[in-house]
């Protein structure tokens, strides 16, 4: 028993050390830490990965001592984390539904505004093994189709487009996997495992342009996704969080446009 107790300080310090290591990725390095330093945690839809990473760097450059840590994922999953009490300062969702959920349930939001819109598109591997030419071809027999899961905005939008195009039954029968989010769909198509996927136009980033070809969906059946952003109630950096939201609505718009997002209105 005594031998075990003597191990306790060691274990405790090991745990603390691990915690410190884990934190250093999101906060400033310990050596640079001063009383002036502030950290912001932003949970954002996966489709915003590239644009928000750039915006975060700009925001940090304009605000010395501020570090922005991003938590990218499917909006439904991010909303669940926030509702379960994750210490998030800003939430940027790929659909109003999940922002509504955080706003109406707990913990609530402030300074909510729509900051971007996005169109959806069909993507195929560059060698296009299934010979997909347009949205209707997703209903063809034997097409291996990957979309995001139900509840994930990109997944719900894809299902809506299938309904609009009146190919819902046939297209859903071709779905071989319900991916975690839009970026997982891109990965499946880019690696050639799937014949086609439905994602946001902006998901075809420079990283994947040589592996993935984009096929536009006609406006008549397409869905336009609206992205809201807000400060999470209870944020310990509410003032800074508000400044970040303003930055996204202001100078950040140029970055979003560069990545192919449409303006909010």
């Amino acid at each position: 028993m005594r031998a075990r107790l003597r191990l306790l300080p060691f274990i405790t310090s090991a745990v603390l050390l691990l915690a410190a290591c884990g934190g250093s990725g999101s906060a400033a390095t310990p050596s640079a830490a001063t009383a002036e330093d502030h950290g912001l945690i932003v949970s954002a839809a996966s489709s915003l990965t590239d644009a928000f990473t750039d915006i975060g760097k700009e925001f940090e450059a304009w605000n010395p001592g501020v570090t922005v840590a991003f938590n990218f994922g499917p909006s439904d999953g991010l909303a669940t984390q926030i509702e379960e009490g994750a210490p998030v300062d800003v939430f940027a969702s790929a659909s109003p539904t999940w922002m509504d959920s955080v706003q109406d349930d707990r913990p609530g939001v402030s300074d909510r505004a729509d900051f971007a819109r996005n169109r959806l598109a069909v993507i195929v591997p560059t060698d296009n093994p299934a010979g997909i030419q347009g949205i209707d071809d997703l209903a063809n027999n034997g097409v291996q189709l990957v979309i995001a899961a139900e509840g994930v905005p990109a997944g719900d939008y894809a299902r809506q487009i299938f309904r609009n195009a009146e190919i819902y039954q046939a297209a859903m029968a071709n779905v071989v996997s319900n991916a975690e989010d839009d970026r997982s769909v891109v990965a499946s198509v880019a690696s050639g495992e799937a014949d086609a996927g439905v994602v946001y136009v902006t998901d075809v980033t420079p990283d994947v342009t040589d592996q993935v070809a984009l096929i536009q969906i006609p406006d008549a059946v397409n869905v336009i996704a609206t992205y809201p952003i807000a400060v999470i109630t209870g944020s310990e950096e509410a003032e800074l969080a508000k400044r970040f939201v303003d930055y996204v609505l202001g100078p950040g718009q140029r970055v979003l446009a560069d990545y192919g997002f449409l303006p909010a209105s």
């Binding site: 306790l8 274990i11 405790t12 499917p74 439904d76 999953g77 669940t80 291996q144 990957v146 899961a149 139900e150 509840g151 994930v152 779905v175 071989v176 996997s177 319900n178 991916a179 975690e180 499946s188 690696s191 050639g192 495992e193 799937a194």
Partner: protein
């Protein structure tokens, strides 16, 4: 403190589980489909792990050959590597453009990715080490003189295996089966990466928990409780091994 670390999440699950609705949630179509698929996948994976692990464990316990240490390290590696990495590796090997997968696809028109077979392969990959380790311990604990005695009395190698080795190793074989089955049942990372997530085909119980957490939390907690009950049953079955 260690006990709390383990007990608190379990307590959290118990508190949040919708006990009044648990029967309804556990018998809905999504859960039953995932349960059926999980049983098929885990049982297949455990069977393959036993059959392929048996000769491997024998070689590791009894054999003396060059590179034995390397083989053992290789076999145990899936135990400690991140399952998602296993999934990426399986894609690189068996994916449509993978080392073996491209060949399977071009010559036989076989695609493993996004199939139940892929889920079984992923589960086998992570459960094989447990089977091999348990079986190897069994071979080591076995008194070789009993097998030798049977041989000198004229028994064929097959007869010795069937009537001496296998019965003597029955407890270890059972342990190997239960351990690899339980590990296969819980497999998530390699499965979602390599096999994808489709109800009735690759959506096993852990994948169902992951998806339900976003859309139907009551179901996620109920299925989690079911998986814990199964895990507890496994510990009970192997109490001689874990609870000494």
């Amino acid at each position: 403190m260690g006990v709390l670390l383990v007990a608190l999440p379990l307590l959290g699950l118990v508190v949040r589980t919708p006990w009044t609705r648990i029967a309804e949630v556990l018998t809905n179509e999504t859960t039953l489909t995932a349960l059926r698929l999980s049983l098929v996948v885990a049982t297949s994976a455990a069977a393959i792990s036993l059959v392929t692990g048996f000769p491997l464990a024998w070689a590791l316990a009894r054999g003396s050959f060059r590179g034995k240490t390397l083989v053992r390290a290789l076999v145990v590696l899936p135990l400690v590597m991140p399952p998602v990495v296993a999934g990426v590796g399986l894609l690189a090997a068996f994916g449509r453009r993978g080392l073996v997968g491209s060949w399977l696809h071009d010559w036989f028109g076989v695609q493993l990715t996004f199939t139940t077979a892929a889920a079984v392969l992923a589960a086998t990959f992570v459960s094989l080490p447990l089977a091999v380790l348990a079986l190897e311990a069994g071979f080591r604990g076995l008194d070789e003189r009993l097998e030798d005695a049977a041989s000198t009395l004229g028994a064929s190698r097959w007869y010795v295996l069937r009537r001496v080795t296998l019965p003597l190793m029955a407890p270890q074989i059972a342990a190997a089966a239960v351990l690899s089955w339980a590990r296969a049942l819980g497999e998530f990372g390699a499965t979602i990466t390599f096999a994808g997530n489709l109800q009735g085909r690759t959506q096993t119980l852990p994948l169902a928990v992951f998806e339900k957490l976003q859309t139907d939390q009551a179901a996620a907690f109920a299925i989690s409780m079911l998986l814990i009950a199964i895990a507890a049953a496994v510990i009970f079955a192997l109490r001689g091994r874990f609870l000494r």
